[in-house]
């Protein structure tokens, strides 16, 4: 014969189990509903004192291999080099979001963006000045298009950790480069050429495919087949 207090204890335990099961289901559903935002690796934006403005981003789409120009309202710093860095960082961090159509690794992608005025001029060679001989460029310097170009050269220094985690493939790597070039071109028209470094060093390819050692022309890359 089961005593009364044992039956009461049993039903209390059953009730507790049912309650805990219900609470577990509730927590599970809550986690699933917030999973999309918790996958957001976007770095926390620094407080901006500038006004939000309409900025054109060249967004990549892996599904059809296209680039489309999309306007977003973003607050950006005014100084050109800092603005270029913020632009590229924002572009690549948006690609790290779970909803992205061109999924890229999260975390900080850009170490720095340097803007160099063109044309590039070689440092003065010693020896010639004392004789009063005008300094003419060497044949190699003269052949370099950067010694004749105008505008600015943007040197985008990417982080090695980000580049190492970039998905490997011709399409995805090409779209990343086109996306960066197109975004810089749309917002900083003074930039005429773009170069890429990784951790301050020249790198042969981004992730095994696209040539990262080239100097690229800054052009509109939206749906471009001839960048």
């Amino acid at each position: 014969m089961i005593s009364r207090y044992q039956r009461i204890l049993f039903w209390i335990l059953v009730g507790g189990s049912v309650f805990m099961a219900g609470y577990l289901i509730y927590l599970h559903q809550r986690v699933r509903s917030t999973a999309g935002t918790e996958g957001d690796d976007t770095p926390i934006a620094a407080p901006a004192s500038s006004q939000a403005e309409s900025i054109t981003f060249a967004l990549a789409h892996d599904a059809d291999g296209t680039i489309t120009n999309t306007e977003l309202s973003v607050a950006l710093p005014g100084e050109s080099a800092v603005r270029a860095r913020a632009l590229v960082e924002r572009l690549l961090s948006d690609d790290a979001l779970p909803r992205s159509e061109h999924p890229l690794p999260g975390g900080i992608a850009v170490e720095d963006v340097y803007l160099v005025n063109l044309p590039l001029t070689a440092p003065q060679r010693t020896g010639g000045e004392s004789l009063g001989v005008p300094q003419l460029p060497t044949k190699a310097e003269d052949a370099d298009p950067m010694t004749h170009a105008s505008g600015q050269l943007a040197v985008v220094n990417l982080r090695g950790s980000w580049a190492d985690a970039h998905p490997s493939g011709i399409e995805t790597e090409t779209l990343t480069v086109l996306s960066i070039i197109g975004t810089l071109h749309a917002n900083l028209p003074s930039i005429s050429y773009v170069r890429f470094l990784v951790d301050g060093q020249q790198r042969a390819t981004l992730a095994g495919h696209i040539d990262l050692a080239r100097t690229y022309r800054s052009v509109d890359t939206a749906n471009a087949t001839h960048p």
Partner: protein, 241 residues
């Protein structure tokens, strides 16, 4: 005439030898067989360079080699001399510069670089993004061609080859996206050249690049397109006739 001499003097072994020798000189030598056009297949990556991770435990280098092995007999059956930059998984693997050197030395009718990726859908078809050279298809022997811009003289014929391959994929109902890119060894090749990247056939990943049936469809589309393109192209320059 030697035959007259033979009839008059009777058949001696010396005369027979002389007649035979004379006939051998007078009979035109058979024309050398027309050399079969060379198609170079470049299964990308290999050795320590595995490329992208295409499946759970499959690397890009294995997929590209398997695909090349499917294309090779199909092209050979269509009368091409098919060569490959790597037959297996050699160590050390030739670099992209070495691969381009191998291909350029063979003066191929076309070069096809094979890649594979886990992202995107269908087949991604790329030609070099270099600007087209204004000179003739074959640069003069005296001009210096920058290594990174070697492909610029062949852009027009590469685009025609790409167009034929794109049409063949569309006919085979394989999703195709075409574009232009900068990548070694594509930019270093002195022949009509395309890079083909095979991605999952469907967006849901139900037919990955490792699928044998999918690979065979891709291989047949490429082989058919190359044959059709070569029929229309000048075999010496790759330019359309």
């Amino acid at each position: 005439m030697r035959w007259t001499k033979v009839a008059a003097a009777g058949i001696t072994s010396a005369t027979i030898w002389a007649v035979t020798a004379q006939m051998a000189v007078q009979t035109p030598a058979p024309a050398p067989p027309h050399p079969r056009p060379v198609i170079f297949l470049d299964p990308a990556h290999g050795g320590a360079d595995g490329g992208a991770k295409v499946g759970d435990s499959v690397l890009e280098k294995a997929v590209t080699l398997e695909l090349a092995s499917r294309i090779r007999p199909l092209l050979s059956a269509r009368g091409f001399d098919v060569r490959m930059t790597r037959e297996g998984d050699p160590t050390p693997t030739p670099t992209t510069d070495q691969r381009a050197g191998l291909e350029n030395q063979a003066h191929p009718a076309a070069c096809i670089i094979l890649h594979s990726a886990p992202t995107g859908t269908g087949v991604h078809l790329y030609t070099s993004a270099l600007p087209e050279a204004t000179t003739a298809a074959t640069p003069p022997a005296t001009s210096i061609v920058p290594w990174d811009e070697a492909q610029s003289a062949y852009i027009a014929s590469s685009l025609r080859l790409s167009s034929e391959i794109s049409t063949a994929f569309s006919r085979s109902q394989i999703a195709i996206s075409s574009g232009r890119t900068w990548m070694p060894p594509l930019d270093n090749l002195l022949c009509p050249a395309v890079a083909i990247e095979i991605a999952p056939l469907n967006a849901d990943g139900s037919k990955p690049p490792t699928d044998a049936g999918y690979q065979q469809r891709v291989a047949e589309a490429i082989a058919g397109a190359v044959l059709f393109w070569h029929g229309k192209a000048d075999p010496t320059t790759g330019a359309a006739q």
